[in-house]
């Protein structure tokens, strides 16, 4: 058994996993406040990454400015999207809303390809993407940064939902829109806020991934990849999202180890998380940290 390789793979899994975790958190945010599973999550990342790219390359902005502009753009994007598309869906069956996000995903997938092309684009070296060596493993500084960012975002989200009034309102809205409205909560505002925050955070994640791997339409597959992460952690748990993300990251890399060294099946890397997902769900039907449905009658 090659421990060094295993160790490096797991380290890699940890780092990639936190990134999954951040994207997963964006999912959870939307879900927690609107009960909507956002199938366009991957496209949010993509849009964030492309827009930042455009600011940096087309408009030649310095990185910090482009970054801030991207965040502003993403926020506006989230709000406008909610106003135009999702607001009319308030009160409609959840599954219809989910289908709408699928429609959005199709739409943005094509739109970004059209506008930005199907080629992979590389960020200019504005930001230091040096690698540092950690335990004999090369690590991108950007990934380390994302690791820190994720922890910060996670803590912020946790506080937000537990203690802030808007956070409470979001949970109430998710539970029952009619009741929330009867309490004077503007479902529209709540939705707009959650989409805005989610879009913003997705944008950050998109930029981080883009800096390391380049931007291309393929980036949006992350949107599907984090499903297992979200579910493992529990759909409505912020901490669960991070833990789920890390587990998936570790699992992928662990599977690669087993596959590459022993089995040689070839695809364990991408398929193993799904087997594990089913097994874990059978043991813990609400993921690791998800709240149980109240089954009272």
């Amino acid at each position: 058994m090659n421990f060094e390789l295993l160790f490096q793979l797991l380290l890699n899994g940890l780092i990639v996993g936190t990134l999954y975790g951040v994207v997963a958190m964006c999912f959870v945010l939307i879900y927690k406040s609107t009960q909507v599973v956002n199938f366009a999550q991957g496209e949010f990342l993509l849009i964030g990454a492309w827009v930042c790219y455009a600011f940096l390359v087309e408009f030649q902005m310095p990185f910090w400015l482009g970054f801030v502009f991207t965040l502003l753009f993403m926020m506006a994007f989230g709000i406008i999207l909610q106003m135009v598309i999702l607001r009319p869906m308030i009160g409609e069956p959840i599954i219809s809303v989910i289908m709408v996000t699928i429609g959005l995903s199709i739409f943005f997938q094509a739109a970004t390809k059209w506008i930005f092309g199907a080629t992979t684009a590389t960020y200019p070296q504005v930001f230091d993407t040096r690698t540092i060596s950690l335990f004999g493993m090369q690590i991108e500084t950007a990934y380390i940064m994302s690791f820190v960012i994720s922890l910060v975002i996670m803590a912020a989200f946790y506080w937000f939902f537990k203690y802030s009034k808007l956070g409470l309102a979001m949970r109430a809205t998710a539970f029952d829109q009619q009741v929330a409205q009867s309490l004077g909560i503007s479902v529209k505002t709540v939705f707009a806020m959650s989409w805005a925050i989610s879009a913003l955070v997705s944008g950050v994640a998109g930029i981080v991934i883009g800096m390391v791997n380049g931007v291309s339409s393929g980036l949006s597959v992350i949107g599907i990849k984090v499903f297992p992460a979200v579910i493992l952690g529990g759909l409505d748990s912020i901490i669960g999202a991070i833990v789920g993300g890390v587990i998936i990251g570790l699992l992928e890399n662990g599977a690669e180890f087993v596959d590459g060294q022993y089995l040689h099946w070839g695809n364990l890397f991408s398929i193993a998380p799904f087997y594990v997902l089913i097994i874990i769900l059978c043991i813990k039907p609400y993921g690791l940290f998800g709240t149980k449905d109240i089954e009272r009658i």
């Binding site: 992979t120 991934i209 980036l219 597959v221 690669e256 991408s270």
Partner: protein, 391 residues
């Protein structure tokens, strides 16, 4: 017949759209150039280009539609998956298909090689098969290893998705590599969709790969090479033809040792007589004539022109039907379409052997900070071994 109809399947928006667009533009421009300039010896040419997004069922549905509605005579295709799926259909319907799939499986028209699962009598492509191109590069690599003074056996790995296109040369090339004294590892599976491939790179590192065959293309290859760069893995990459071009290298940004095959002249090459026609064709979609074209674009033109000349032969020999076009493909040896001299390489198809081209130009590319440099390494001419026919 008052006109001939050619169906054109292209992938612009699908998984291979990144490169598919270049090739599709070549085919489209060539077809409309022919259409506007006299058709097939006076017979008007009709064509329809459909973006099937690299989806096999969509391709088959379109094929059926063209057969029933447009009386399609011949087809310009794209992917390995769809072309291989259509083998029996086109054989039965006698529709010659010129695809951009250089799968070796399409080169045995009669099933002469006992290993051939399905004879492919109506399939043609312009270029060396994926298998032959890989063999040529492996052959080059064997010498390169010696020249560099490498110790022991060099290690070779196939890297690609579990998908007809990357799979096509998998066994053939590994077999030849073993024959040449390589240590061949088990293939490393990397998705055709881009992502973070550091895990797979670590596997390559562990295996000690010296020469890695890249079976995928575009964004996926870019991700892989970049990921490997970050974990400090840099074997000599042997890319398949679709993964080797200026754009890809530029996107990777920083890479040495990137080897790939080429089948035509480059857009920037000077003093090639046939480039005049290529530039005219390019004006079809780019009035300025300034747009840079990749060699995939140019291969698209060659593919159309072989079809065009075979059709002209058919017209003189009993009318433009599928069966006659097929005969037309066998009518010449060391064949270069008129006006494309120096652009397309001399090709020979026979009724028993559809390996039109067995010569591979091997190039090497490197990129530093986005500046790309491409140099020619060698031209390898492979023997037409019978046991290599059809795979």
């Amino acid at each position: 017949e008052d006109s001939v109809f050619v169906g054109h399947l292209m992938d612009i928006t699908g998984a291979t759209g990144f490169i598919g667009k270049f090739y599709a533009d070549g085919v489209r421009d060539a077809l409309s150039y022919i259409k506007e300039n006299g058709g097939i010896d006076g017979t008007p040419l009709e064509f329809e280009s459909v973006d099937y997004a690299y989806k096999v069922p969509q391709a088959i549905a379109n094929y059926k539609k063209w057969r029933s509605r447009n009386n399609m005579i011949a087809m310009q295709g794209w992917g390995t998956g769809d072309t291989e799926a259509l083998i029996s259909f086109v054989a039965k319907d006698e529709v010659p298909v010129y695809s951009a799939s250089y799968s070796g499986h399409l080169t045995d028209p009669t099933g002469k090689n006992p290993k051939t699962a399905k004879p492919a009598p109506y399939n043609f492509f312009y270029g060396a098969s994926y298998s032959d191109a890989c063999r040529a590069m492996v052959q080059w690599a064997a010498e390169d290893w010696k020249k560099k003074g490498g110790e022991g056996k060099p290690v070779f790995s196939h890297i690609g998705d579990n998908h007809p296109y990357p799979n096509a040369p998998k066994e053939a090339c590994a077999e030849y590599a073993t024959e040449l004294g390589f240590d061949v590892t088990s293939p490393v599976v990397v998705s055709m969709k881009p992502g973070d491939f550091k895990a797979q790179c670590l596997t390559l590192k562990e295996a000690g790969t010296d020469y890695g065959y890249l079976g995928n293309l575009g964004p996926s290859v870019v991700s892989l090479v970049k990921s490997c760069g970050t974990v400090g893995v840099d074997p000599t990459w042997l890319a398949n033809i679709w993964a080797g071009d200026y754009e890809t290298l530029k996107t990777i940004g920083d890479v040495d040792n990137y080897v790939f095959p080429v089948m035509t002249s480059f857009w920037t090459d000077e003093g090639v007589p046939g480039m005049e026609l290529v530039r005219k064709i390019s004006m079809e979609s780019d009035k300025t004539g300034e747009q840079f074209r990749t060699h995939h674009y140019i291969r698209g033109i060659c593919s159309v022109y072989y079809m065009k000349e075979a059709m002209e032969w058919a017209k003189e020999n009993g009318g433009i039907t599928g069966a006659n076009i097929k005969q037309g493909m066998y009518a010449r040896t060391d064949w270069v379409p008129k006006g494309l001299e120096g652009v397309c390489m001399p090709a020979t198809w026979t009724a028993e052997d559809h390996r039109g081209i067995n010569t591979v130009n091997i190039y090497s590319g490197e990129a530093h900070g986005g500046d790309v440099k491409v140099t020619k390494l060698e031209t390898v001419t492979l023997p037409r071994r019978d046991d290599w026919l059809g795979y």
